[in-house]
Amino acid sequence: DKLLVDFLSFLADYVPTFPDELVDYYAAAAGFQCSDVGVKRLLSVAAQKFVAEIASDAMQYCKMRQGVGGSSSGAKQQRKMVLSHDDLVSALKEYGVEMRRPEYFADTSSAG
């Protein structure tokens, strides 16, 4: 319990990436009502952790795709790490979020 209390007070000073106003908005949309700032920050931090995990997994996939090779590919890696949609889909799959994206959209004459 003490741990929890300490942690919550710690969070009161911590600034999470998701701003408080955003969290308040979505929490209110869900019906979440809390007067304690620490609890809200805890929520925000949990979401941040979630996203960070997904991003790191996607990074792994990206590195795998680029391949570990010679200096040129190494340079490429360092130069340009782009989170692509495919990497994200693979990463999300592990978390139970299944996504499928169409190859191309032919809704306008200019596209596709």
């Binding site: 809390c34 929520l43 949990a46 782009v82 299944e98």
Partner: protein, 399 residues
């Protein structure tokens, strides 16, 4: 899952969505990505929002389950355990503070850097402050009806729901009005003068023709044709209708000046009256009337020019006026010519060849005389115009 995951009003959600996108991009940057695909960013932002909402919803459910409306940390931790991966050993006796989910989060916070959001944010959504309608008591009004308490908002003002006519706001001083009147009078007078001059010029032309007509009509009254072939005896009733057609042509030629003054009514009435005249068989009355009309015409013209009504001429003028109104003088005057032209057209249509030829000859002659007829028609119209002019001038003089 994907773009449409956030149900409800996406338009209201827009701001939150954009902010989430920014936060997600910051997180990706901290992980090590240089850039991110747009679709990937949107997807990740959607996932993050969904996660946030689900967590909050689950925490809310847990607090409700415990008969509370306000959630606390335990509710949230339990929600985190629900959402996150299952703990290796789900032990209900284990205190919640030692939950794996919480520990993971704590670990995360410890090890990861603090990434504050890039921009300051206002509190949103911003609710517009609506000005409340003032109550009866605030306005100091007494509510209509004793059943309405005074602390209720006041009833709207009657001008908001009652439709009243709008009068054009013409603020004109009386002096401006008088000036305007004088200007209009001057305009009317100038136009009348112009018309009058035109009439007098043509009137002098018609005088000679009129005298010819008079002689011709007298002869008609006496019943003998003296070389004016167009003064033939009246014809059958069927021919009358055609008269209207031809007369229309004359009217256009003759009534050009006075077309504006005299409407088309005279032609129709003239046609009908000519029918009447022909029915009465063109007796001496017509001739007499013609004479009178002729005399009256001359007098009438003279009268108008002088604009000095004398008793006798005035009587004649009165006769003229009356006759013009009754159309009798006009019709009898033109009787001969009209009858002749009527006859021409009737016989044409009835298709008697010899008669046609004769009639054609007569027609030619009548056409020659029709000019005079036209001028006679002109005269009639001029008379009418002059009547109107004099009336107008009288009113002008009076006002």
């Amino acid at each position: 899952m994907g773009g449409g995951s956030s149900g409800g009003s996406s338009s209201r959600d827009e701001f939150g969505r954009i902010v989430a996108k920014m936060a997600v991009a910051q997180i990706c940057e901290s992980v090590g990505f240089h850039s991110i695909q747009a679709s990937a960013m949107e997807t990740l932002a959607d996932v993050a929002i969904r996660y946030l909402r689900d967590l909050a919803r689950a925490a809310h459910f847990y607090s409700n389950l415990a008969a509370r409306i306000e959630s606390n940390a335990f509710d949230l931790i339990m929600a985190m355990e629900d959402v996150g991966p299952a703990p290796p050993a789900a032990d209900p006796s284990r205190p919640i503070a030692r939950s794996s989910a919480l520990r993971e989060v704590m670990r995360f916070v410890e090890y990861s850097e603090e990434i504050p959001f890039a921009r300051p944010l206002p509190r949103f959504p911003v609710a517009k402050k609506r000005l409340a309608a003032p109550s009866f008591a605030q306005l100091g009004e007494a509510p209509p009806g004793s059943h309405i308490p005074s602390w209720l908002p006041a009833l709207p003002d009657p001008h908001t729901y009652r439709h009243t006519p709008v009068w054009p706001d013409r603020k004109r001083e009386p002096a401006a009005n008088r000036l305007e009147q004088a200007r209009q009078r001057r305009k009317a007078e100038s136009s009348l003068v112009a018309l009058h001059s035109r009439l007098s010029s043509t009137a002098s032309m018609v005088f000679k023709d009129r005298e010819k007509e008079n002689s011709g009509s007298e002869e008609n009254g006496s019943g003998s044709g003296s070389g004016n072939a167009f003064l033939a005896p009246p014809l059958a009733a069927g021919a009358k209708e055609l008269m209207v057609v031809q007369f229309g042509g004359f009217k256009d030629g003759g009534g050009g000046e006075n077309a504006g003054v005299v409407p088309q009514v005279p032609s129709i009435v003239e046609a009908f009256a000519s029918v009447v005249e022909s029915a009465s068989n063109g007796n001496g009355d017509g001739g007499l009337e013609i004479q009178d009309g002729g005399g009256g015409n001359e007098n009438g013209l003279a009268l108008v020019e002088q604009s000095q009504p004398q008793p006798q001429p005035q009587q004649k003028k009165g006769e003229l006026l009356e006759s013009n109104r009754s159309q009798r003088v006009v019709l009898s005057f033109d009787f001969g010519g009209k009858a002749g032209s009527k006859g021409v057209f009737a016989k044409r249509i009835l298709a008697a060849s010899k008669q046609q030829q004769q009639q054609q000859q007569q027609l030619l002659k009548r056409q020659r005389s029709s000019v005079a007829n036209a001028e006679d028609d002109k005269d009639e119209r001029k008379k009418r115009a002059e009547q109107i002019i004099t009336q107008g001038m009288d009113t002008m003089a009076a006002s």
